[in-house]
Symmetry: C2
Subunit: 380 residues, 2 copies
């Protein structure tokens, strides 16, 4: 890989959403030449990147043409054309995370096999091809059927409560997973550079909105025992070591009621569960991703204060040019850090931004987060 | 002024250098629509701003045309066309800092008069129009002659040691200032919003390079007494209150050998002496400037750790495409925060970036800064 040692060093990013936007903010510190590919001409990144290309990151030619003059190509979304990335890698472009790993993670079936092969604890599962096969597993209901590919943000996931639900199941390559009666959902973000250095951030605990399958409130430190914290971090670092990936990896986990940690799924990129690291840690997840893919030393992951992150979603009942309500009230506390995603149009449940709240005490930060949730509204 | 409540809110920035670039990084958090005007098509900001206009910020028409569709116009350099800004203000564009204040600060003579009229301590001075007038003041030599306008980064400043230097003096409107035998150079950054709230950051102490008249090393907290710290902050806040300015103001000061604080000059914008606030303070100077001009509540200025900032200048003997030497060595410590300004071409003494070093102990941070200075080189 070409060494990063000038402003002419070219970093290509597939995907131009809010994760890309925050990656740009961090990359600006390194003064590198940024290129972004996204099909939406009004994507968040389009406002902040001279070399913004409109095109599909799922299309072979678009990705290949975009990437061939880059020094490093990375992603902010995993749903990209892997064949083009493989070709770029054979032609000498550094592609991080490596195309084979993106390919593995794109397929929930391969992910599960990888966990089993590498003794990574995960919920038991079977492969399903036709929904009729589900009838063999009625004893294990309730269970979760997940499409192997293209499931994202809750799409492609179906909860089967009883035999009556089988008719609504998927007849595409999928997995049927035992439904874990979990205590908590956790995530650990790990990073690895080409030298093989690995770091882990502290565990974050996620509270999901039961209706939207989106993280509603995330906090760190997690309310778990020191042993559970240690165990979660070790598992995440083991996943990273076994993958031999270069870049940033979010490892989503369940803590079961019996105290066991099970890996749920992986995201090989900056992640919603790491937004708080921008203000709460010495090194943000975005800078860490850049350090990893530029083969610089990895940064300190220390959590400096308790942090809570909330997603700011478009209010139900409003579609159109977005109006921010309540910014004055919430910015009065400067430990409340607002990130708005430069999206002109709101619609119900659209991710329009996030807010990170810091405090020396977690409970106070959670209280402030609830105040922010009650005040900051996105309407039209 | 139109209320900031949507992604369609338009902020125009006159000047597209590194201060503008760091302002963009902060403005991205608020997701506002940014526009930048700079004569250099390759200015730092050009890489990170969709609405980057090439044009002169000193030209009436360029500034007027650029500003007339903005909601707020601000500056990252004070050498701008004030007449156009005045016209924009009369047409309802919010111009912050106010054009009259930029005009006052552009003229070192008016600045000095303002200090005298408002009982702000400053070095004694007289007005000079022709160099022959200098002969009247030989008793007060050594003294400093400064052009009233267009002096910047040491240009337009002439040290008169003895009567023999008079022939080399300026015959343009200027001031002759008593040469202060100062102990230290200090700066205080203050901010004020339209509601009239004022905040001050902790005092920073500057070590200047004797040859280049550029800050070589800056640190906060300053090595001064609590009374001097308090006095410096009060004077800076008084300047801001008397100006009734909206925005961010850097107040440069001398601490004399007798312990007196004298105001040297003002910069009505984010400033070199506030770079460290990005990592060292709850609210960075860039966010504070935005909070002020968007009429949001001002943020907490608390210094969280001791901070040292060093400017990274192009090495002597190298002109051409810039190469960064030593990035690996210095980024091994993630309390060393690198900011490279995306400038493709280096030349001797060109400001190519800065580095902020944090530590719980100031002396350790200074030691690390000296290590960074010895390792990080910009060559071609």
């Amino acid at each position: 890989m070409k060494k990063f040692d000038s402003a002419a060093f070219k970093l290509g990013v597939l995907g131009g959403g809010q994760l890309g936007k925050m990656l740009i903010q961090s990359a600006m510190d390194f003064g590198i030449e940024l290129h972004v590919l996204d099909p939406d001409p009004n994507a968040s990144c389009s406002n902040y990147c001279k070399h913004f290309s409109v095109g599909s990151f799922q299309d072979y030619d678009s990705v290949y043409q975009f990437g061939k003059n880059m020094d490093v190509v990375t992603i902010e979304i995993e749903n990209v054309n892997v064949a083009a990335l493989k070709q770029l890698a054979t032609e000498g472009v550094a592609v991080y995370p490596q195309p084979e790993i993106i390919e593995l993670i794109q397929d929930k079936g391969l992910q599960k096999q990888f966990f089993v092969q590498n003794a990574i604890p995960t919920a038991p599962f079977v492969f399903i091809h036709q929904k009729e096969e589900l009838e063999k597993y009625t004893d294990s209901f309730p269970a979760i059927q997940k499409l192997r590919k293209a499931g994202y943000d809750g799409k492609g996931v179906f909860k089967i409560n009883s035999a009556e639900d089988i008719a609504k199941g998927f007849s595409e390559p999928s997995i049927l997973e035992e439904r874990i009666d979990f205590e908590k959902e956790l995530a650990v973000i790990v990073a690895r550079n080409a030298k093989g250095d690995i770091t882990a951030y502290d565990v974050v605990e996620m509270e999901f909105s039961p209706t939207l399958n989106l993280v509603e409130l995330l906090f760190s430190p997690a309310k778990i025992t020191p042993e559970q914290e240690q165990n979660a971090k070790e598992i995440a670092m083991r996943v990273m070591d076994k993958l031999q990936m270069v870049g940033l990896l979010a490892v989503e986990m369940f803590l079961t009621k019996s105290g066991e940690i099970l890996v749920n799924e992986l995201a090989p990129r900056p992640h919603n569960s790491g937004h708080h690291t921008i203000e709460a840690c010495v090194t943000s997840q975005y800078e860490q991703h850049l350090r990893a893919i530029l083969n610089l030393p990895l940064g300190d992951t220390k959590l400096l204060q308790a942090a809570v992150m909330i997603n700011i979603l478009g209010d139900v009942g409003y579609t159109g040019p977005a109006k921010y309500i309540g910014l004055d009230a919430i910015t009065a506390d400067s430990q409340v850090h607002v990130h708005l995603y430069s999206k002109a149009i709101t619609k119900p449940h659209r991710k329009m931004g996030h807010v990170t709240i810091l405090d020396s005490e977690l409970e106070k930060a959670i209280d402030k987060a609830k105040f922010v949730q009650s005040k900051l509204k996105i309407q039209a």
